[in-house]
């Protein structure tokens, strides 16, 4: 019996879908420690030091040691905290991050053992809107965490998150509108197929820049990491969290970086397509996507090591006075061009 939930072109058996769900979660679980060690190693190199190099060969097992340390720590919570919400908030963050990961296409539909399997969790007809819907819910993970902690630093961090995520989500959405106009579809696999001639980073370069900038704010990464600005707020919304709950927040943050990298790859960098008309066999597709995602993630780390943190009012005025008008202009110009060229 087919579920009417979000028509996604179901031609897959139910067990294939369950299998895909497990594989996606497993992939996400493996990728996060890799990004963790990559970030710490790269930050070390950027700052002229070694980075972690004690645990395992070249310090490669450092994330494992971190995870074991965090998970075996005592679960504590402040007496001022609101118990249930305090425990629930990191869960919301992690669930929304994993759910958003499901729509990133790692490859086209493949024929594996007589079954047609799409190398993605789901190909929703509303594409990026699905991402923004889960982004909207992810905000409650941060907000509730900060509020339920009952400490002022957490509260300030949560309040900053509220204003920041909201204002940058608008620009992020508008930046994608240009792409959707050009591709004439909301489906992410459809957008990748539409990039057969030229990756959208070329015709939609402004949109690409806006999306990337807004994504830094959306994922709370430097230079827009004011929700957890450690120089001002100790740790922001996650100040009072320790052990496994802190690990959940940490996991969600890095998974969000991966999700954004995946979306940038899919929407602007041609997804699994290779340039110069090279058409490799299907099993190469996920490798291509992962390499491109890795490059975007590297850029995220590079920016973190390079740029200082903005002041909070500068962040807000940048979002509303620069990014939003630019994104609107980009959407308008694209709309005119699309209409003229389709005549």
């Amino acid at each position: 019996m087919a579920l009417p939930l979000a028509e996604v072109g179901y031609y897959e058996e139910w067990w294939v879908q369950i299998l895909k769900g497990i594989v996606i979660f497993a992939v996400a679980l493996q990728l996060v420690p890799i990004v963790l060690i990559a970030e710490r190693k790269l930050l070390g190199r950027f700052q002229g030091r070694y980075g972690p190099n004690r645990v395992g060969p070249y310090g490669m097992l450092q994330p494992l040691a971190d995870i074991v340390k965090l998970l075996t720590k005592e679960q504590f919570r402040p007496t001022t905290s609101a118990g249930l919400l305090f425990a629930l908030a990191p869960g919301i963050s992690i669930v929304t991050a994993v759910a958003a990961f499901a729509i990133i296409p790692f490859g086209d539909v493949q024929h594996i053992g007589g079954e047609r399997v799409g190398l993605y969790g789901i190909d929703v007809s509303i594409g990026p809107l699905y991402l923004f819907a889960f982004g909207a819910i992810a905000f409650y993970g941060i907000m509730l965490g900060g509020w339920a902690s009952g400490s002022k630093y957490s509260f300030l961090g949560a309040m900053r998150a509220a204003a920041q995520l909201i204002s940058y989500e608008v620009s992020q959405g508008l930046a994608l509108v240009g792409v959707i106009f050009t591709a004439q579809t909301l489906s992410l696999t459809g957008i990748v197929h539409a990039q057969g001639g030229m990756w959208y980073i070329v015709p939609q370069f402004v949109g690409f820049l806006i999306f990337l900038t807004a994504s830094f704010a959306e994922t709370n990464r430097a230079p827009f990491d004011l929700t957890e600005a450690d120089a001002e707020l100790v740790g922001g919304y996650n100040t009072e969290f320790g052990g496994g709950r802190f690990a959940s927040y940490y996991f969600a943050e890095y998974l969000n970086v991966l999700v954004v990298s995946g979306i940038v790859t899919t929407v602007f960098l041609g997804g699994w397509l290779l340039p110069f008309g090279v058409h490799p066999p299907g099993w190469v597709d996920p490798i291509v996507v992962l390499v491109k995602m890795g490059l975007v993630t590297f850029f995220f780390i590079w920016v973190r090591a390079t740029l200082p943190r903005l002041r909070y009012d500068q962040l807000m005025s940048f979002g509303w006075k620069v990014l939003l008008p630019l994104a609107t202009l980009n959407a308008l110009v694209t709309a005119v061009i699309v209409v003229v060229s389709h005549k």
């Binding site: 579920l3 009417p4 939930l5 982004g135 907000m143 204003a163 009012d313 500068q314 509303w320």
Partner: protein, 234 residues
């Protein structure tokens, strides 16, 4: 399976709605409203309206409720006493209560007419016909086409209303001295490309930010309602 999801979501919708009015702490009321709206989005998904469901989550749970949470988290302690004040026995309170019950009754009657009118007709039907593919019922393309052809006037009026609301919020904030105490900043075409107060290197080094701009930036931080109003327009 869809029946199970329907009942889970329906229980969520009703429990959320009851929670909004029954919970004492306004912060939890707002959270109940969020869960109500998200459950409603699940019901929309069951009706094959994925676009409406996503917009429901993005706009209501994501934008509108964020503002509610924001405000209630700031002034939550004071708002908690509203219920206690209504519990008093003065004549003004009694009058307000009667009025509230009357208006609530009217709203209930209106909703019942609308619900029973359409709902009873729909019970015997089979719902919208379902075809896969683009531009069929419930897809973004279909809704977009309807908005720009059949419902164009309603669509434009709604967006105009939101624009008026945004402008009104700015005017109100200005009258209360939130913004606009200072003289209007002098804006040249150069500022279009590099607006003041956006943290450019030149501003930081030379202190090029005029006093008016610096004041506006600070005032805006203290009165965030006007800044965040464009959310509603979205």
């Amino acid at each position: 399976m869809s029946a199970v999801i329907f009942f889970l979501a329906a229980i969520g919708v009703i429990a959320g709605a009851i929670g909004v009015v029954m919970l004492r702490d306004p912060f939890y009321s707002v959270l109940a409203l969020v869960s109500h709206l998200v459950s409603l989005a699940v019901l929309f998904l069951l009706l094959r309206a994925e676009f409406v469901a996503a917009v429901q989550v993005v706009v209501y749970a994501g934008a509108v409720m964020v503002l509610y949470v924001f405000v209630v988290a700031y002034v939550g302690e004071e708002a908690a006493t509203i219920g206690d004040r209504l519990r008093g026995a003065s004549s003004a309170v009694a009058r307000t209560r009667t009025l509230a019950i009357a208006i609530g009754g009217c709203l209930l009657a209106e909703l019942l007419v609308a619900l029973l009118g359409t709902g009873l007709k729909a019970i015997g039907g089979y719902g919208a016909p379902y075809h896969s593919g683009p531009k069929t019922y419930g897809t973004p393309a279909y809704i977009g086409e309807l908005l720009l052809t059949r419902f164009l006037i309603a669509f434009e009026i709604a967006s105009f209303l939101l624009l008026v609301a945004a402008v009104g919020a700015v005017v109100l904030a200005r009258r209360r001295g939130g913004i606009g105490e200072e003289p209007e900043p002098h804006i040249t075409p150069l500022h279009v490309f590099r607006p003041l107060g956006t943290g450019t290197m030149a501003e930081g080094v030379e202190g090029r930010m005029p006093a008016a701009q610096a004041g506006a930036g600070l005032a805006a931080e203290h009165e965030p309602a006007s800044k965040r109003e464009p959310e509603a327009v979205r």
